[in-house]
Point group: C2
Chain length 383, copies 2
DNA sequence: CATATAAATTGAAACGTTTCAAGCGATTTC
DNA sequence: GAAATCGCTTGAAACGTTTCAATTTATATG
């Protein structure tokens, strides 16, 4: 009630009130009264008025409490508490330019890889008092652009992104705007940005060498579009490993690309391939674990045993890999840590934009052997 | 370059420039020049200037394009594109009082149920020009409270939440603050809020009846804490279904609760149980698919065949259910639609806060039979 | 006690939008 | 041909903060 009266006086309504004659006007004033009380929120002015200090002092009470005389600070805090004042983040942002909001842009949030990664980001970010806006682009560049616009307009201070494609043109706009950029699972080439990643070439090599060690020489690479950077990088690693193998016994590699790095897409693509082609491979290296699951479904549907006839190796080592119909051999990546580290870099840049120097953190992948790969069988030898 | 010069003129620097004498001043101007170009972002003013129209017109171009002459609109759009203008959400919010930001609070983003749900939310929200801040509470009430505070201070217009526990006390604060609230996968009892959910009692009944139809009479319910609303609701449905069955042939139900509704937790709990107890059930109804996967791992580790000796039924029908070691029988929920519908309700409330009436949308669950359940075997009959 | 210095407080000027009363031409109506 | 109407456009005011130069008050110094 005190609050309400204060507002009336503050808004100059009391003068109107004194001049009133008719009941209608009285009713009108009370209607205004009601509106003010129910719709207007408490602002820094109200606090200042109540505490008997100026606007700047209230602001200082929040932003540099040390600069205030202890008595003043106490007065202000009392008023804040009594009025239930919560600073308006928009006004604060508009003036100060700091939002404490980060954007995280990922190509596919259904992929547990990105879920785990996002958990790492969230934990790091929450600890620092920031928030994350999570954007899922479905591997579409258009959606990515749209989300980047949205994030820009939300004045996020930093953007963590796993770009859908290898073109960084839209990202330049971000850094030009002064928004901190951190590439996740990508290397920042020609870009003012930090980056966090895993040695994908090494991961590709691990996968290939595992299969060749098991005796496989006809290998299918079932992966995503060439312009997805880590797809390309792993492919490079695989080819490099092939080149390094002895010329007399060099494995043969063919590549099939799926539309989306998801189970259903992989299943469809491989099924279609098997319908029109003989089984001409004994090992499959998949773009990620979801693709591997789809591949296994397709193979099984054709009556091809995994790993009896064909070995399948995934990538990412998602949680499900061990519960899969055939527990999946995979290349593990430190997903959570990747996200956590990226968020820390991003926050560091936000807190310290001038002194900040861009850096790259690179993790190492690890081969996890389960049941989906086995030595090449006699039955398959003929392939 | 054009843009840069424009800004100089606009800021009145050109007059200063004309009056310059010394080199120092010239340098100063160029320094200012540099600052303006590199730090200031493109504002509605720049667009107005470039398009040769007023501020209001540019604003209208965004907010009521119909009110503009087509030629003017085109001019503005061209300027917007060329300058790469993105409206500043803070300023917009400050003036208009709308943030176009929603919060989504879920207990476990690693659970594909919530991933799919969040996709639905995101799609609905993006279409309406909103953004979502995604918060993952790890089923912890403390984290939930913390996130609700964060969202409040971010001035979100609405919060979509699947509360971790059955206490709604913290949610009352939200509605009191005038923030739209939408309960997801929960019923809003005694709360000013919309809600979207699935008939959980029906889902529980579906699961139980499926097992009893297959002849199972000793049933284990492996689920989460009692104070998780949908856990309780499904339990109610199960018990109701038992009560309805003929007295002579009534199934027996025992319950074990897991700490977290995740695979590893379920595996651990069931393993411990099997170590100290004989196998005294032939069917397991699980709190969700993740729990079911964990349960299957625990059973297999003990050499118990699924579904040969024990049938297992999950809940949610996550994408992975069909790729699981034993393709999972499950109760499907329209996850994506749930999220989509919830977001639509929330947005409707944001757009139309006065006229809005709270409502509940309820979907129906569906039994999906795969391989993890089978008729009770002779071997198991003795149990 | 006067002065210099330090500490605390003030308040006006941004920040980039939206809103809306007012203005301006062009067109229609009498 | 004057008046009324209509369709676009304009620009100042406001939203609630933060910032910072200026001012006041308190404290230390000679």
């Amino acid at each position: 009630m005190v609050n309400m009266v204060l507002r009336l006086i503050y808004n100059g309504f009391i003068t109107k009130f004194l001049r009133l004659g008719s009941l209608i006007n009285t009713a009108l004033v009370f209607w205004n009264f009601y509106c003010i009380v129910s719709i207007m929120s408490v602002s820094i002015r109200d606090v200042a008025l109540k505490a008997g200090v100026s606007l700047g002092t209230v602001s200082n009470a929040f932003n540099r409490p040390g600069a205030l005389a202890p008595a003043t600070l106490k007065k202000v805090q009392k008023a804040v508490a009594e009025l239930g004042f919560v600073p308006n983040a928009s006004a604060r942002t508009l003036r100060a330019g700091k939002t404490r909001v980060l954007g995280l842009v990922v190509p596919d949030i259904s992929n547990p890889f990105f879920t785990d990664l996002s958990k790492g980001v969230n934990d790091a970010v929450l600890a620092a008092g920031y928030v994350v806006i999570l954007c899922n682009t479905d591997e579409s560049s258009e959606k990515e652009d749209k989300y980047l616009d949205v994030l820009t307009s939300q004045n996020v201070q930093g953007i963590l992104i796993t770009p859908a494609r290898d073109s960084y043109s839209n990202l330049k706009t971000i850094t030009d705007r002064g928004i901190g950029l951190t590439l996740v699972d990508r290397i920042a080439v020609g870009l003012e940005a930090c980056s966090v990643g895993v040695d994908d070439a090494q991961g590709g090599a691990l996968a290939l060498n595992h299969l060749t060690d098991l005796g496989h020489r006809k290998i299918l690479l079932l992966t995503g579009a060439e312009n997805i950077p880590q797809v390309a990088e792993r492919e490079k690693g695989i080819k490099e490993a092939i080149r390094k193998s002895s010329a007399s016994d060099r494995p043969n590699l063919q590549t099939i690309r799926v539309d989306a790095m998801a189970a259903h897409s992989a299943e469809e693509t491989l099924t279609k391939y098997l319908e029109t082609n003989p089984l001409d491979f004994t090992g499959v290296i998949c773009g990620n674990d979801l693709v591997a699951l789809g591949a296994i479904r397709a193979l099984r549907a054709k009556g091809i045993d995994v790993p009896g006839e064909v070995s399948v190796i995934g990538y990412d080592d998602i949680d499900f890999a061990q519960s899969a119909s055939v527990p999946l051999t995979s290349i593990a990546q430190p997903k959570y840590q990747l996200g956590f580290a990226a968020a820390q870099l991003a926050i560091e840049e936000c807190e310290n934009p001038t002194k900040h120097t861009h850096q790259r953190i690179e993790f190492q992948p690890q081969l996890i052997v389960r049941s989906s790969t086995s030595p090449v069988s006699k039955k398959s030898k003929g392939i």
